[in-house]
């Protein structure tokens, strides 16, 4: 197992490095001047030259990449051209907030999705199965901005139950948690889009598990239904969910542009979007690095948790 982890870690580093190289090249292939994108249409040639010199943009590409990697090895993600702040600061401000929002919504989706998936499997092909599946798919196929606007119109504008946006004064994760009236709608909107994923994967696996011999034996031995469902069906139905969870980790750190825009929740999604528009390479590269690490970490965690949940899966040295 240890050797397996070492090997996967080495692969992960290689993958992240490859992603960085590719992203660096692609970003620099974008047409247009970074300096002019940041300084505006009326930036004089002298001012553009100062900008290019300050950020090393007048050096050859391989030089720029070398400098960037050297900085990175020293824990320096660079300075954002647009925000004039260290990229690490920008990410450190936004990442925990997104992790909270998207993490919470994933948990909510999981808590709703898996039990209903198993419930559907138990009532396979009954009316209730179709009704629940229809509901989740309707919510899944509806655009999240539409759901957000409808909920805001109803619950905030009409009945003043919740706050439609996060107050600008909140800058910390603790602050977000204390203002729960602003947190309800974004968490709900983001989670109802994911419930269908979890419920349908759980449902199909649970149908297979319910038909398996060991479940039949357990029930024939007289084990109570609830015990069979929780001890045998639930645990085995979680395997595909683990895969989805592992794959959602990069999504959690990448943010959610639309929800962030509508609910006044400045996070990683808006940061990347605005940085992409402004040719803000350091932020784009820093974000890519974080998402790359989250992707390989998510995959690795999923693989490891497989082994924990299913004793039949073991990783051996080759």
């Amino acid at each position: 197992m240890t050797w397996y982890l070492v090997r996967r870690l080495a692969q992960a580093i290689a993958v992240v490095f490859g992603v960085m190289v590719l992203t660096f090249i692609l970003l620099h292939m974008e047409p247009g001047s970074v300096a002019r994108a940041v300084l505006g249409l009326k930036a004089t040639p002298a001012r553009v030259a100062i900008f290019d010199h300050l950020y090393g943009l007048n050096k050859p590409l391989y030089d720029q990449f070398g400098v960037y990697m050297w900085q990175l090895l020293h824990g320096n993600f660079g300075i954002s051209y647009q925000y004039q702040q260290p990229v690490s600061t920008l990410i450190a401000q936004r990442l925990p907030r997104d992790a909270l929002l998207l993490g919470l919504s994933t948990v909510v989706a999981l808590v709703i999705g898996v039990p209903t998936g198993i419930y559907q499997a138990v009532h396979h092909n009954e009316l209730v199965d179709d009704a629940v599946a229809g509901t989740w798919f309707t919510l899944y196929s509806a655009p999240d901005f539409l759901e957000a606007f409808l909920l805001i119109a109803l619950l905030c504008v009409e009945f003043h139950i919740f706050q439609p946006t996060f107050p600008g004064g909140i800058s910390s994760v603790v602050g977000v948690l204390t203002d729960w009236r602003a947190l309800v709608l974004p968490v709900f909107v983001l989670s109802i889009n994911s419930v269908a994923n979890f419920s349908q994967y759980s449902r199909s696996t649970a149908i297979t598990v319910l038909a398996s011999d060991y479940v039949k034996v357990a029930r024939a031995k007289g084990l109570p239904r609830q015990l069979v469902l929780t001890r045998h069906v639930l645990r085995n139905s979680l395997l595909p969910v683990i895969t989805i969870l592992g794959l959602s980790l990069p999504g959690i750190v990448a943010g959610a542009v639309i929800a962030e825009s509508i609910f006044n929740y400045p996070g990683m999604g808006l940061l990347f979007w605005q940085s992409a528009l402004a040719h803000d390479y350091p932020v784009m590269l820093g974000g890519t690095l974080v998402i790359g690490i989250a992707t390989v970490t998510g995959n690795l965690l999923a693989d490891v948790v497989y082994g924990v949940l299913d004793p039949r899966i073991r990783y051996v040295s080759q």
Partner: protein
């Protein structure tokens, strides 16, 4: 806040233009807001102002040349106001009452300025003196290239020497004569004083000295202040930034752009704040802001996007009053006179005249901007500066919408006109009745118009232009692009240099150009102007602009204005106004100052209704 517009704030104002100029097709009418609210004025209270888009990231009032964030002025203007305060009520004039100077006298053929400062004090009780001015001058003299507000050839490089005969008098000996209006309105209005007694140091723990008096010292102090000015975590706590001469002090600042002002109890100026706090709260988008306004919660003053004008009655029901703020600036389509394909065509004045005759600006104002826009008759907005409008502009400009005149012009210049088709040049050549230099026989009259995408009003405006131009056979191909793409791919194109890589654009509408108090064309229409990226060049235009900057004739401005309106270095477009909403028990907000906009909360106060 005028240089704001031309310099650091250019980006912000463009952002505002894009955010606020979102479209409307509704016919809801909005008043300009009450100048007074009935009731007894109250002292105290908090006003929360919504700010959409970017946030300030620099507090030292002289940001580096690589920081073009115009929102920084929003943060600093109430703390360190400019020597010359632009705008008085709703008028585009200098406000001597709020300015830091007592008197400004121009002498020696307008090459020497004697400025007497008012006997005001810094917030720590130390008097504001001429030494504070020399401190600013010394720092900028050695660091002007690293100041975003520096304009080629102007302050501080145009100063031969600064003399301070006494503690409140500054004599500026300039390298040349200036038009006093221009220098006061467009140069001195950019200068904020700095407290030499508190800031002339090179480290936080170091002692204050006279470091600025040497080149090395001035560079070290400037570098130190700029470094401190970028540390967002200490904006509200750094003792440097607590010494102010404006009506406000910074009480809170979060790196997400949320900040709060509290009154400077030692403010010497005439309008002492009555509010106990002003909060500036950031919003990621105008959608988020609008949702908050509609829910009637935390915002006391905010922008209303034009595409939400139809919701004014809902907002009024939530306790808001709606007001319109004309924008000081000029909106335009920039023609690239050096585009390799049709630049030669655009260099013919009559082609630009045809294009302008076919823009129905009146209908665009009415239908696209619901009436809340300057008509765009020429280079100067008619809404914000009546005193600057020549009779020609007041009368609608030289090219009011007229398809018949456009068609006549085309026919008179050898074109075969095909309404709703594409005109072609029939008589190539340079003689009278020919198409003109650079235009070949059979060449189609068509242009690609690149404009900022994602803004409904821009889509509607340019679709309207495409349609009205087509009526005379001028084919406009629309190409919406993100604002940053336009900015980053648009190069300066002129006779000397027009590489295909950055000069392939033909017509461009990216928003508007913000103006200073003196809406001079310097920088926009002179041959080497930093905003003249379409390559328009005219010796007469240069002379006329120079006359507004350096001459002394009061007639010079109208001469410049009329010539520019006629020459069409830009195709003139309507310029959308900003619409704001504010709580109805909040007074003193209107009339809006066209330059400081919502940055003068020292004039605001709550009233007790019915008292």
């Amino acid at each position: 806040m005028r240089k704001t517009r031309r310099l650091a704030a250019a980006a912000a104002m463009l952002a505002l233009a894009t955010v606020l100029a979102a479209c409307a097709t509704t016919s809801s009418k909005i008043g300009s807001g009450p100048t007074k609210v009935a009731g007894k004025p109250l002292n105290g209270g908090t006003v929360t102002v919504a700010e959409v888009g970017e946030s300030p990231n620099f507090i030292f009032p002289y940001p580096p040349s690589t920081n073009s964030n115009g929102y920084n002025v929003n943060l600093t203007m109430g703390l360190w106001p400019y020597l010359v305060y632009a705008g008085d009520g709703g008028q585009s004039i200098v406000n001597p009452r709020e300015s830091l100077y007592q008197s400004l006298t121009y002498s020696h053929n307008n090459s020497v300025i004697t400025m007497v400062l008012k006997p005001w004090k810094w917030s720590d009780g130390v008097p504001i003196t001429s030494r504070d001015f020399t401190f600013v001058y010394n720092l900028l003299k050695w660091n002007y290239q690293n100041w975003i507000g520096y304009t080629q050839g102007l302050f501080p490089v145009d100063v031969k020497k600064v003399i301070t005969p006494n503690a409140h008098t500054v004599v500026l000996d300039l390298t040349r004569s200036y038009n006093p209006t221009f220098y006061t309105d467009d140069v001195l209005s950019l200068i904020a004083l700095m407290p030499q007694h508190a800031w002339d140091k090179t480290s936080l723990s170091g002692k204050v000295g006279n470091y600025d008096e040497t080149k090395a010292g001035a560079k070290a102090v400037y570098a130190f202040l700029q470094k401190q000015g970028g540390i967002m975590g200490t904006f509200a706590t750094n003792p440097l930034w607590q010494v102010v001469d404006g009506p406000w002090k910074l009480a809170t600042f979060n790196s997400n752009g949320y900040y709060a002002w509290v009154p400077n109890k030692s403010y010497s100026g005439p309008d002492k704040p009555r509010l106990s706090k002003v909060i500036w709260t950031p919003f990621t988008t105008d959608t988020a802001e609008m949702n908050t306004l509609r829910s009637g919660t935390t915002i006391d003053l905010g922008n209303l996007p034009l595409n939400d004008v139809s919701q004014t009655s809902d907002l009024e029901a939530e306790g808001y009053v709606v007001g319109v703020l004309p924008v000081a600036g000029v909106a335009e389509i920039v023609p690239n006179l050096w585009n390799p394909v049709n630049g030669p065509m655009l260099r013919n004045l009559y082609i630009r005249q045809v294009l302008e005759y076919l823009i129905d600006r009146t209908q665009i104002v009415k239908k696209v901007y619901a009436g809340y826009a300057d008509p765009g008759n020429g280079p100067v907005s008619t809404l914000y500066g009546q005193q600057w409008d020549s009779p020609l502009e007041k009368a609608g400009g030289p090219y009011p919408y007229s398809p018949s005149k456009a068609i006549a012009l085309l026919k008179a210049n050898g074109w075969k006109v095909v309404p709703n088709g594409t005109d072609t040049c029939q008589h190539a050549g340079t003689a009278a009745g020919d198409c003109g230099p650079g235009i070949t026989a059979g060449e189609p009259l068509q242009f690609q118009l690149m404009y900022t995408s994602g803004i409904a009003s821009f889509d509607q405006q340019n679709a309207a232009i495409q349609s009205s131009e087509a009526a005379a056979g001028v084919k406009i191909i629309l190409k919406p692009e993100p604002f940053n793409t336009i900015v980053s791919t648009t190069g300066y194109c002129n006779q000397q240099t027009h590489p295909t890589s950055t000069c392939s654009w033909q017509l461009q509408d990216y928003g508007y150009n913000p103006y200073t108090l003196d809406p001079s064309g310097a920088g926009l229409f002179n041959t080497d102007g930093f905003g003249n990226y379409g390559g328009y060049s005219s010796a007469k235009e240069n002379q006329l602009i120079d006359a507004t900057e350096y001459g002394s004739s009061s007639a010079a401005f109208f001469a410049y204005e009329n010539y520019t309106a006629e020459q069409l270095p830009y195709l003139w477009l309507p310029n959308a106004s900003n619409i704001f909403v504010f709580k109805k028990n909040l007074a003193g907000i209107t009339p809006w100052n066209p330059f400081s906009g919502t940055l003068n909360p020292e004039d605001w106060y709550y009233v007790k209704p019915g008292s």
